[in-house]
């Protein structure tokens, strides 16, 4: 059995759920017997040997990268999971995410950006694995940990950095900030500070896609929406309500759980009665997959199937990516609660290192190719900082812009004119 069909095995098994009966009683994805706790458990943390790594393998859904690589060595190259171009694209995207976030940390400590900044280091495989499969018209909804989702979706690094610096050239004119990245052009629908509140918005975007196809008769509208959120969100009502609605109406959406085991200082296991989030999918009538979120190739294979399902109109999928954030919850988090052994364990599974190894061992790219990409990205990020530095800060006149799409909403003033017609108002000096 070569690696391609091994990957296929990951995908097809969970999707055997009959798509025409959302109320099906099949539960093909519930693992028949309880398996071990996640390695992130605070109750029982041992430095695992590689054999214990396989303890949380469920029906073949989780396979260590090294296993895949070992199997591959004896096969010919036509069974590779990716082409050279794809490999380099994935690598570049992940390096961009990593370099950008590292620069954010630097800039924050130098006083260029403020407030709450949540960095994505370590989780790049999820963003790259999913978003690089999307078209521009597909939508992405994220949380406050959204810089890298924005970059993967195509928002220029300059625009994101400027937004973080609070400049007018930012993607949201400086009005959103770290936690509110939006891009109409790239269909990034946010950036939300409260966990869970983006999921209904994503469900709405998926609803529009279905509406366009069925009511507006735009027959080729197959836009898909991805909703990214974390393990903490999976205990929130909005999550469950949207799983229900998405499955009920077969909306073209994929719910991507970035389970990094920690919600600030709350371990997933201390907050959740049943920590296996992917099991909650079948309870609502959709497939639930668990995938190793530190392996971009595995994530990509699962993503392909889930996105394909949505595009074909077969409905939503719940994908739980087991991943980890190398830094604290935010730059203000001292990150004292997590066990160093746990951090070391996941650091050893750095997705970028893993992909690099895969590319080189399968002769898809040379060290030189990858170094060239590293350098290119360094320049992109430096340029982004320079651009952001040189960009202007918003003037006072910007304060009242964009409150209303139609500024008549500010009302009629005592003189009978709409307030927005008052020149002082648009200069930002009118008394409101």
């Amino acid at each position: 059995m070569n690696s391609a069909s091994c990957a296929a095995k990951i995908s097809t098994q969970p999707f055997s759920l009959n798509p025409t009966s959302p109320a099906s009683h099949d539960r093909p994805l519930v693992s028949p017997k309880p398996t071990s706790l996640f390695l992130g458990s605070t109750r029982k943390l041992r430095l695992s040997s590689s054999s214990k790594l396989n303890l949380h393998r469920r029906s073949g859904t989780v396979v260590a990268v090294s296993d895949v690589v070992k199997q591959k060595k004896s096969k010919s190259t036509h069974s590779l999971l990716i082409t050279k171009e794809e490999g380099l694209e994935l690598y570049e995207d992940m390096i961009l995410g990593r370099a950008f976030e590292d620069m954010c940390a630097q800039m924050y400590y130098r006083g260029k950006m403020f407030g709450f900044v949540h960095l994505y280091n370590g989780q790049e495989a999820v963003s790259t694995g999913f978003i690089k499969l999307l078209k521009q018209q597909d939508s992405v909804v994220s949380t406050y940990r959204d810089h890298v989702h924005a970059l993967s979706k195509g928002v220029p690094a300059r625009a994101v950095m400027s937004e973080l610096f609070g400049k007018t050239t930012g993607c949201c004119r400086g009005q959103g900030g770290s936690m509110h990245m939006f891009s109409r052009e790239h269909n990034l629908l946010g950036g939300f500070a409260f966990i869970g509140e983006g999921i209904p918005v994503a469900t709405g975007a998926a609803f529009t896609s279905k509406y366009k196809r069925e009511v507006l008769k735009e027959a080729d509208c197959d836009h898909v929406t991805l909703a990214f959120f974390g393990d903490g969100t999976c205990n929130n009502g909005q999550f469950f309500e949207c799983l229900n609605m998405a499955a009920l109406w077969k909306l073209p959406i994929v719910f991507v759980v970035e389970n990094n085991l920690w919600a600030i200082g709350m371990s997933h296991l201390r907050a959740t009665s049943d920590p296996q989030i992917y099991k909650k999918g079948p309870a609502f009538g959709m497939p639930g997959i668990h995938v190793d979120g530190m392996d971009v190739l595995k994530v990509r294979e699962v993503a392909k199937e889930a996105i394909g399902r949505a595009r074909r109109g077969e409905g939503p999928t719940l994908v739980e990516c087991e991943t980890y954030r190398f830094r604290g919850h935010s730059l203000a988090d001292p990150d004292e609660l997590r066990d160093p052994a746990e951090k070391a364990h996941y650091a050893a599974r750095d997705p970028i290192t893993a992909l690099k190894k895969y590319l080189i061992e399968n002769s898809l790219a040379s060290e030189a190719d990858l170094k060239a990409i590293d350098k290119k990205i360094d320049e992109v990020v430096e340029d982004a900082v320079e651009f952001a530095d040189e960009s202007p800060v918003p003037s006072q006149s910007q304060l009242l812009e964009n409150v209303f799409a139609d500024p008549k909403g500010f009302g009629i003033g005592p003189d009978g004119r709409y307030r927005c017609e008052d020149p002082k108002f648009t200069e930002g000096t009118a008394h409101v």
């Binding site: 009005q175 939300f192 609803f207």
Partner: protein, 408 residues
């Protein structure tokens, strides 16, 4: 009503002033709201029964006006349009407005609990699902926060949803989405995404519905930046405001009242909208400005009957736009009468009246001869018992007493 514009610029002022500051039953409005009926008589005062009084300074009515309530239909002026209009109930007017907008723009859709097959808890969406299909008139599960958020996401991506809260009170569950996303996303996205959503539903104190079904959410929502709020009170303005709200690019919260759905009125056949930001002059007067909205308008008009018989001449304005306030209509009235009474169904604390007092004091303090009086509902959860419920809201007798006090 024209007496308000006693000045050289009267004609010019007239042409830019809100058309619906007239008694809405008297005049038929073309979509461009022309003033063909009024322009010739800049300084006349129109009484609610259609008589023109050329003596605007007279402080006492020439004779007792038998009907001060603005419910009479067509006068001669109204038949300047060739079509007779049609009579319907308020909930039918809302339905008509919705239906017309859904026909006009295929992106308009409805979502809410029991809006489809059931036709809406107050029949506002009756028949729409049959006509437009189950996806355009979407029966949602009971998950207000999520389906309101879904409406917001749909609005961001190109649709124009009308979200119904089965009872306005249920929208408390959607407060997260309404406050954070509905109001804010246009701003935090730097203007990239518009949210042309209408969030509507029946609210207010009904007949012994109990505390939780008798809530007035206008006071809770009013601080949210980025939203507009309107309250309808007649079939005419219900349809007009509904259409305007759907066509607006801003998110609009549309307040209906449980007890007003069966009001009957004759409305024009032709297409019309009511401006979202404007107040409505219900009854022009001289002695006191009474500002009100929604159901209290009818308590005020009932009190006005008594007041007129006692020799007072109240000016009644239905503010309609709860956010933002129409300071032009309100201000002109204050400048004329110098006394203000606010009658609202909100609770006293932090209500619409409180904001209105602040706005009037800030802008028109010099014109006031007396402190502003505000009659609001009691700060209690609405009791079930009928006798207690009655005294929770403002009754006409209290309004009469308040005016008498104000005009001493």
């Amino acid at each position: 009503m024209a007496a308000i514009f006693q000045g050289v610029g009267a004609a010019a002022a007239l042409s830019s002033s809100p058309s619906n500051s007239f008694d809405s039953k008297k005049f038929v409005f073309s979509p461009c709201r022309s003033f063909s009926v009024r322009k010739g008589a800049s300084f006349a005062v129109v009484r609610s029964d259609g008589r023109v009084n050329l003596n605007p300074k007279g402080r006492r009515a020439q004779q007792l006006i038998s009907n001060a309530v603005a419910t009479k239909s067509d006068s001669a002026a109204a038949s300047s349009s060739s079509k007779p209009g049609h009579e319907l109930l308020l909930f039918e007017a809302l339905q008509e407005g919705l239906e017309e907008e859904m026909e006009r723009d295929p992106r308009v859709c409805v979502m809410g609990e029991d809006v489809g097959h059931y036709g809406g808890s107050y029949k506002v969406t009756k028949g729409l699902a049959k006509k437009f299909g189950d996806l355009r008139v979407l029966d949602t599960p009971i998950a207000e926060n999520s389906f309101t958020g879904m409406g917001i996401g749909a609005a961001m991506t190109g649709l124009r949803p009308v979200v119904e809260g089965m009872n306005m009170g249920f929208l408390l569950l959607a407060f997260n989405q309404i406050s954070n996303n509905c109001g804010m996303l246009h701003y935090t996205s730097g203007g990239q995404f518009t949210i042309p959503i209408v969030i509507r539903g029946p609210g207010g104190v009904g007949r012994q519905l109990g505390a939780e079904h008798s809530q007035r959410l206008e006071s809770y929502f009013q601080s949210i930046p980025g939203i507009q709020m309107v309250a309808c009170s007649t079939p005419y303005n219900a349809k007009g405001l509904m259409k305007a709200a759907i066509r607006s690019e801003n998110p609009v919260i549309f307040f209906e009242h449980v007890l007003l759905y069966n009001l009957k009125e004759r409305i024009p056949d032709e297409d019309y909208i009511c401006n979202l930001e404007e107040a409505e002059m219900v009854r022009p007067g001289e002695h006191v400005t009474i500002l009100t909205y929604s159901r209290m308008r009818y308590h005020v008009m009932q009190a006005a009957k008594t007041l007129v018989n006692k020799g007072y001449d109240p000016e009644v304005i239905d503010i309609r736009s709860l956010k933002p306030f129409d300071l032009y209509t309100i201000g002109n009235s204050v400048k004329k009468t110098h006394r203000v009474l606010i009658v609202e169904e909100c609770m006293r604390t932090g209500g619409i009246g409180a904001s209105l007092i602040a706005a009037i004091t800030e802008n028109f303090n010099d014109y006031l001869d007396a402190s502003i009086m505000c009659l609001s509902s009691q700060d209690v959860p609405t009791p079930y018992a009928g006798t207690l419920e009655e005294v929770t809201v403002v009754q006409p007798a209290q309004i009469v007493t308040a005016v008498e006090q104000l005009c001493q």
